[in-house]
């Protein structure tokens, strides 16, 4: 009953928007290439399902590689930076650069360095998604309760033991927040990367499908591809959410994620 009450309002809103959209697109006879009605998008999605699915899989793989790189390298860099304040002050400002760099502008560089295709696309996904992982993990390590640090010091804990038994476990909730943000960004980074760098492979990703639908004025297919891209981001986000819930439900009741 409660679940129904949570799900019902957004579903009703969606149905309303789709109905208005459908009737406007038909009633005003808007050309199909400008704004296809939802029914046309659904038909395109059904008709092109195999190519949409294979494109989504290509993009998903690149996004997952990028996300995995972010998770590993971002966490690693956060640990290194947390080891010393001077190091953090020296390096951290440059990690902000990763956040602000216009990925479309440097994507050609990525093609030069990594070759066109999967690798450049994955690196693009990595660059776009790594900053929240670094910032949140570092923040989590930094905000360990001072009394707990004192206790570890009192009992003669080594630097290593303090990292493994205190700092990293304490940082998990906020690191998970960073990973949730990174999951959505990785898909965006992969699609933008594909716009520039995704050409060489025989099987193209969603970014390529979006570009080619646009060139052929297949706006219905373009909408379907965008829908698939959003679904991909949501799926990855939900997976991280689930992992976070499973990890934290017992010891951080207040910090367990709400979906």
């Amino acid at each position: 009953m409660r679940a129904l009450r949570a799900v019902l309002p957004p579903l009703v809103a969606l149905a309303l928007v789709l109905a208005v959209w459908e009737s406007l697109a038909r009633g005003l006879s808007i050309p199909l290439y400008l704004l296809p009605p939802p029914s046309a998008v659904a038909r395109a999605a059904a008709g092109e399902l195999p190519s949409l699915l294979s494109a989504a899989w290509v993009t998903a793989r690149a996004a997952l590689y990028g996300f995995a790189l972010s998770a590993v390298l971002g966490t690693g860099l956060a640990i290194v930076l947390s080891a010393s304040r001077p190091l953090e002050r020296a390096i951290y400002p440059y990690t902000v650069f990763l956040q602000t760099v216009p990925i479309v502008a440097i994507a050609p560089l990525l093609v030069l360095w990594f070759g066109p295709g999967m690798r450049a696309v994955a690196v693009s996904a990595f660059i776009v998604s790594v900053f929240p992982v670094i910032a949140n993990t570092l923040g989590g390590i930094r905000s360990v309760e001072p009394a707990l640090r004192d206790m570890f010091r009192l009992y003669g804990a080594s630097r290593w033991a303090t990292l493994w038994k205190l700092e990293l476990p304490s940082a998990i909730p906020s690191a998970m927040t960073g990973l949730r943000v990174a999951a959505g960004l990785a898909v965006i980074g992969a699609i933008v990367g594909e716009f520039v760098a995704g050409f060489s492979e025989s099987n193209a990703g969603l970014g390529i499908l979006i570009l080619s639908s646009y060139r052929q004025l297949r706006t219905d297919l373009l909408f379907a591809a965008v829908l698939f891209a959003s679904a991909l981001g949501l799926l990855l986000f939900a997976a991280v959410n689930l992992a976070s819930y499973v990890l934290l439900r017992r010891w951080h009741p207040a910090a367990s994620p709400r979906t």
Binding site: E145, A147, L148, D150, M151, F152, R153, L154, Y155, G156, A157, A161, K165, L166, P169, I172, R250, W251, H252, P253
Partner: protein, 266 residues
């Protein structure tokens, strides 16, 4: 001393505690304000001393200095060596909140100090079970902190402090956040443990009643910079129970501490 029935527990006989000598202690904060300015205090081995003072008077700073968590700017603190040098740290600290690791079970939390000291798994679990049984928590060993009440969490914190069999136990307003009933129960439990184990206990509090009820000796500190307003050996019997809190002897003991606290500028 009133005659004590044979069944009641005598004050510590097997003194495992250490002596703490503080002389000319000075601690200045970065802002330049003196928190402690030339303090002398000698704490006998195996004694139970309450440090009583107004909020912000520097009593917590004093405790951190004794623990070695903070360095003095002048003077010195000499902590005696325990009779038989232990394998594990001889000092334990209980903070104002329980400060447990939320991802660990009660058992693993209590065993943490031994784990950090490199004691093997089986040995540290045995010691943790023993410490948990001393605070009456053996039923809760597999639970995690979020499943415990505030009083239970504090008892785990106490067990964690006891697991290394410390010769010096420092407590910084440990039960201040608990409700009155739980607090009294833990006060009793702490006194009982001290009677049984005989370590030196230094207990920081801002509660006159708690200081009067718990300690063999109460040291009342003034407003900052902290100096000693009153150093009083308790006239209460060694065996104490809740009923004592309503007796005349307790009231006059508390009154003496309260007036000293007021003299010190609370």
């Amino acid at each position: 001393m009133p005659p004590t029935p044979a069944t009641e527990r005598a004050p510590p006989t097997t003194a495992r505690g250490v002596r703490v000598s503080i002389s000319g202690l000075v601690r200045t904060f970065a802002s330049g304000s003196k928190v402690i300015d030339g303090l002398d205090l000698d704490i006998a081995a195996g004694s139970f001393v309450a440090l009583l003072g107004p909020s912000g008077c520097g009593k917590s700073t004093l405790l951190r200095l004794i623990a070695g968590l903070d360095r003095p700017d002048g003077g010195k603190i000499v902590r005696g060596e325990p009779a038989s040098p232990p394998r594990t740290p001889a000092l334990a600290f209980v903070f104002q909140d329980a400060h447990l690791l939320p991802w660990r079970t009660v058992l693993e939390n209590a065993a943490l100090p031994l784990e950090l000291a490199g004691v093997g798994r089986a040995a540290r679990h045995d010691a943790a079970i023993a410490a948990l049984s001393q605070v009456g928590l053996t039923d809760a060993m597999t639970l995690v902190p979020s499943e415990l009440s505030g009083g239970m969490r504090m008892r785990v914190s106490l067990a964690r402090a006891l697991v290394t069999q410390p010769s010096l136990l420092l407590l910084d307003e440990p039960f201040a956040a608990l409700d009155e009933m739980t607090r009294q129960r833990l006060d009793d439990q702490l006194r009982e443990l001290w009677g049984k184990l005989g370590m030196t206990v230094v207990f920081v509090t801002h509660s006159v009643d708690e200081a009067a009820y718990l300690a063999e000796r109460a040291v009342v500190l003034s407003q900052r910079p902290a100096r000693i307003v009153l150093d009083r050996t308790s006239s209460l019997p060694a065996t104490r129970a809740v009923a004592l809190r309503t007796e005349q002897a307790f009231s006059s003991e508390a009154a003496a501490l309260r007036s000293a606290l007021e003299r010190g500028g609370a």
